[in-house]
């Protein structure tokens, strides 16, 4: 999988297709207050957000502003204290729900902030786990896991146990696992945080390619301003705790974006204004 595999027309076609239809994810008045031992913690103030099908959204904000909280609610892992979340045309949480309506979730890929690999499974079996739930036969699971491992640069490590891998390698296994069942919605919580700058760039390019090819809806959390500008259609800027949406920035560089887009003056301008808005927090 590389940028050169994509006929230039396809990207434009899928991009056009994306603009039709309703929201892929709709967040209305969603707030979250955690009940903790030391009293309630307000993590997210009432928030509205519409993610279009096939859109690439990046959540950017200082540590502790509720990015993980929001993402986990989108995946049905936490219930909002108030507000409604709708996936496609199916409600996931309607006001006051404490349990998600599971069938709304459809096919979902989630990259956690921690790799969350199962230490008793070898790399290939970790990657293939979502396929087991879908009852894909074993030989096909192996094949698809091998392909996916290849994509994240771990083709030689299929038979290793997670503890034999470095932190960055483990995170790449987790990314492969989130993608293996070709989910239509991909939620990623600082997926590349544990990677070195060069691998990170490479993974960013690969993720963009994958997204252009498959028309997934992606919501990605990051601390890196330049990563946000490189990847996003729209950057959702969250303010310091308690989190709320401070600004939404459209990024309209043409796709596929080469890494060198970072050298364009407009890129630098956006990065600069985001840095200013974050007040040096990120």
């Amino acid at each position: 999988m590389s940028a050169t595999d994509i006929p230039s027309g396809t990207a434009a076609d899928t991009a056009a297709a994306r603009d039709t239809g309703g929201a892929a994810i709709s967040v209305q008045g969603v707030a979250k207050t955690y009940a903790s031992g030391a009293g309630p913690v307000q993590a997210l103030l009432p928030t509205d957000l519409e993610v279009k099908p096939g859109e690439f959204i990046v959540l950017l904000g200082p540590s502790g502003c509720g990015k993980t909280t929001l993402l986990r609610m989108l995946a049905g892992l936490h219930a909002p204290t108030e507000g409604t979340i709708t996936i496609g045309d199916r409600p996931l949480f309607t006001s006051g729900d404490t349990e998600p309506k599971r069938d709304a979730l459809g096919s979902l890929g989630f990259v956690f902030q921690q790799a969350n690999l199962m230490p008793w499974r070898k790399v290939w079996a970790n990657i293939a786990l979502p396929l087991e739930v879908l009852r894909v036969p074993k030989h096909e699971r192996r094949k698809r896991a091998a392909d996916m491992a290849q994509m994240v640069g771990l083709g030689d490590f299929l038979g290793h146990y997670p503890k034999q891998l470095s932190g960055g390698m483990q995170q790449r296994v987790a990314i492969a696992r989130a993608l293996i069942h070709d989910p239509s919605i991909l939620l990623m919580d600082e997926p590349f945080g544990a990677l070195d700058a060069m691998t990170r760039d490479q993974m960013n390019v690969q993720l963009q390619d994958l997204w252009l090819e498959t028309a997934k809806t992606i919501v990605l959390v990051t601390h890196s301003i330049s990563e946000a500008v490189f990847l996003a259609d729209r950057i959702v800027l969250l303010s310091q705790r308690p989190g709320r949406i401070q600004d939404v920035i459209e990024v309209d560089f043409p796709r596929p974006r080469p890494l060198s887009v970072a050298n364009e003056p407009r890129f630098g301008e956006i990065v600069g204004s985001l840095r200013g808005a974050l007040g040096g927090h990120a």
Partner: protein
């Protein structure tokens, strides 16, 4: 990347293989230490002039051991002790692990019951042997219960720990991939708590054989424990030693079986020491 490639570890591991050379050295050190031990023992009996009744020299024990092994009654006694141990252990494992799973999930229940569970452990269990004899007679049943009572707690406790230690991140993962409950049990709950449960089982089998032998010491006329008391009253210290050696070997055998199961069942775990050997 071909799918048909065998997915074993032909690639070199980035982690140095652990314990590989460490276990090979045991084949040399263990016999050496044993020989040194026997030598010191012999030396002591010669130099100190201690009576054979108190400490027989090693070769006398060896002869007694060979003689005993030629005698059907020892095998009968070994069989009885093995039987009590295994049945008592199995009983304790079933009840202990089942109760551990329940208490591991139900925190409140565990908190309510914990004073009582601890109390049963604080009671010196040897002290209840007379009661067991009273209730279950001098036959095998009282020894089976003794073995079970001693082995039960550690297996329950480790199972509770195992269930509690299931990682929240892994639970979230299973939810996100929409795993049904049985898939979660098979792919998360069991493998995740298995190392703990198996640690309990390893300790449990050792505790069970102790329980069975203590029970035999204190009542009845069957098993290795009873045989040891007979030899004591006959003042055959050399044979007493030989019986203790047989008990030890039996314990070793049972432990080795359980440890082997553990190594096979959880090759990925630190405790198995051979992460890449599968």
């Amino acid at each position: 990347m071909t799918a048909t490639r065998p997915l074993t570890d032909e690639t070199t591991s980035p982690v140095t293989p652990r314990r590989g050379s460490g276990s090979r050295i045991l084949w040399i050190t263990t016999p050496l230490i044993l020989i040194a031990f026997l030598g010191l023992w012999k030396l002591y009996t010669v130099v100190s002039g201690v009576g054979e009744l108190i400490l027989p020299p090693p070769e006398k024990v060896g002869i007694a051991l060979v003689q005993l092994l030629g005698d059907a009654s020892v095998w009968q006694a070994t069989y009885v002790t093995l039987y009590e141990t295994v049945v008592g252990f199995a009983l304790a494992a079933v009840v202990g692990i089942a109760l551990g799973i329940v208490l591991g999930r139900a925190r409140t229940l565990e908190r309510i019951l914990s004073p009582f569970l601890v109390a049963t452990q604080v009671v010196p269990k040897v002290a209840i042997v007379p009661l067991l004899l009273l209730w279950f007679g001098f036959g095998l049943a009282s020894k089976i219960f003794m073995a079970a009572i001693i082995a039960f707690f550690v297996m329950m406790q480790n199972t509770i720990l195992g269930i509690r230690s299931i990682d929240q991140g892994h639970r979230d993962l299973m939810r996100v991939i929409r795993a049904p409950w049985w898939k979660r049990v098979i792919s998360l709950d069991i493998p995740s708590s298995l190392p703990y449960v198996l640690t309990g089982v390893e300790l449990g089998i050792v505790f069970a054989i102790t329980g069975a032998i203590v029970g035999e010491y204190l009542g009845g006329d069957q098993g290795l424990g009873a045989m040891a008391t007979v030899m004591l009253s006959a003042l055959r210290t050399d044979q007493l030693f030989a019986v203790v050696i047989i008990m030890t070997l039996l314990g070793f055998l049972l432990y080795a079986i359980v440890a082997g199961v553990r190594r096979y069942a959880i090759p990925w775990h630190e405790s198995s020491g051979r992460a890449t050997a599968l």
